[in-house]
C-alpha cells in the first residue's frame, strides 16, 4: 500500500518537473517557424548586409584572411600551414561550434578554439576578447561556412552543457525578471517600443551591430542581453555563456550562417 502510494506520488511529481525544462526531443520553436534576425530587420539593415562592397564588416574579412596566412613570430607557423585554405579546409567548421574539446573536455566556442590554436600551435600570445585580430579570424572562419545550416552536436558530454544552457534560456533573471524565452520564444514578432522582437538567433555572428558601430562576437551580444534585462553580466570567458551559446545553436539548427551579418 505504502509503496503504491509512494510510487504514485513519484510518478505524479517527476514528469511535471522534467516537463518544465526543454529536453532534446522538444523544441519550443518548431523548425517551420524559424526565422533569422535578418527577417526582423528593417530594409536599410537588410540592404547593408546584402551590399557585398559596402557592408561595413568587409574590413574585418580582409584582416582575417591576411592573418590566416601570416606566420607567427615564434615559430613561423600560420593557420594556413596546418589547415590549408580557409574556403576548402575550414568549410563547415563554424556551424559546429561550440563543441567539446577532446583534449581538455571543456566546452569551447569558436573564439576559444582560435585562441587554443594560436597559443598552443603558433605559440603566440592570446588575443584579447573583441580584438580586431580575433574578430577578423572568427569572421573569416564563419565566411568559410557561409550559407551552410547550423548543426551542433549535443550528445555525450555536451548534453549536460546543453541542459545548463536550456535552463538559463528559460530562467527569469535580472531586475526586469525576464527569461530569454519570455521575449524570444513567446513574443517574437511583437513590438517592444518601436523595436520588433526577433527570435534571438545566433546565425549571424560575429555581427556588425549598428549600436556598437563595429563588429562584435556572440558573447558580447549575450552580455548586452544580460545588461539589457538588468541582470549581472557574467565575466568574459564564463562557461554559462558557452552553454547558452550551445543551446542557442541547437535551437537554431538548420538556419543558414550569414556572413558578414549586419544588425541594428
Amino acid at each position: 500500500m505504502k509503496t503504491w502510494l509512494l510510487g504514485t506520488c513519484l510518478a505524479l511529481i517527476l514528469p511535471s518537473s522534467l516537463a518544465q525544462r526543454p529536453t532534446p526531443a522538444e523544441r519550443h520553436l518548431p523548425y517551420s517557424v524559424m526565422r533569422s534576425g535578418l527577417d526582423f530587420s528593417s530594409t536599410d539593415v537588410q540592404a547593408l548586409q546584402a551590399d557585398q562592397f559596402a557592408n561595413p564588416a568587409q574590413h574585418w574579412l580582409t584582416l582575417g584572411n591576411a592573418l590566416w596566412q601570416r606566420g607567427s613570430v615564434a615559430n613561423g607557423k600560420s593557420c594556413q600551414s596546418c589547415h590549408g585554405d580557409l574556403a576548402t579546409g575550414m568549410r563547415g567548421v563554424a556551424t559546429r561550434y561550440p563543441e567539446i574539446d577532446r583534449t581538455s573536455g571543456r566546452l569551447l566556442n569558436l573564439e576559444d578554439r582560435i585562441q587554443n590554436c594560436t597559443t598552443k600551435h603558433q605559440q603566440a600570445k592570446p588575443l584579447a576578447p573583441e580584438s580586431e585580430a580575433l574578430l577578423g579570424l572568427t569572421l573569416s572562419l564563419a565566411q568559410a561556412s557561409k550559407g551552410m545550416p547550423l548543426r551542433v552536436a549535443i550528445e555525450g558530454a555536451a548534453l549536460a552543457h546543453w541542459q545548463a544552457g536550456a535552463n538559463l534560456f528559460t530562467q527569469r533573471q535580472g531586475q526586469l525578471n525576464l527569461s530569454c524565452a519570455n521575449c524570444h520564444d513567446q513574443r517574437y514578432g511583437q513590438r517592444l517600443f518601436s523595436d520588433v522582437i526577433s527570435q534571438g538567433q545566433p546565425n549571424g555572428y560575429p555581427v556588425y551591430r549598428l549600436e556598437w558601430q563595429t563588429l562584435g562576437s556572440l558573447e558580447r551580444r549575450l552580455r548586452s542581453c544580460f545588461s539589457g534585462i538588468r541582470a549581472e553580466v557574467p565575466p568574459w570567458g564564463a562557461p554559462e555563456m558557452r552553454q547558452l551559446t550551445l543551446y542557442l545553436m541547437w535551437r537554431a539548427e538548420g538556419l543558414a550562417l550569414e556572413v558578414p551579418a549586419v544588425r541594428k
Partner: protein, 109 residues
C-alpha cells in the same frame, strides 16, 4: 592601419560618367562617447579625404563626427583615359592613409 576599398564599374568607355564607391575603415570617434570605465574617448575622425584621377583632383570631402563609423563615400567622375586613382585621407591624429588603384578606360570609337 586603415583598410579601404574602392569600386567602380568594370567596363568604362572614355567620356563615361562613372560612380565610385569608397569604404574606409575608421571608427570616427565623436569625442562624446565614454568607454566602459566612464572615460571620454577622445575625438578622432577623418577630417579630409581626397581622390585624384591621374593628375586631377576629382573629389574632396571634409567629414565631421556626423559621418558614420567605417565611412562610405559615393561620388561620380568623368573618365577620359586609363589613369591611376589615388585616395588619401588624414584624421584628427594626423594618421594618414592611402589607396591606389588603376582605372582602366577603353577609348571611345
Amino acid at each position: 592601419m586603415s583598410f579601404a576599398r574602392i569600386q567602380w564599374p568594370q567596363r568604362i568607355v572614355s567620356g563615361d560618367v562613372v560612380k565610385l564607391r569608397l569604404l574606409v575603415q575608421h571608427p570616427m570617434e565623436t569625442g562624446f562617447m565614454q568607454d566602459l570605465n566612464g572615460k571620454i574617448i577622445p575625438r578622432n575622425v577623418l577630417r579630409l579625404l581626397t581622390c585624384t584621377l591621374g593628375q586631377q583632383e576629382v573629389f574632396r570631402v571634409e567629414p565631421s563626427s556626423g559621418i558614420s563609423a567605417n565611412p562610405l563615400f559615393e561620388f561620380h567622375v568623368r573618365a577620359s583615359e586609363t589613369a591611376e586613382v589615388v585616395v588619401q585621407w588624414v584624421d584628427d591624429r594626423n594618421t594618414r592613409g592611402e589607396l591606389r588603384q588603376t582605372m582602366a578606360v577603353l577609348p571611345r570609337l
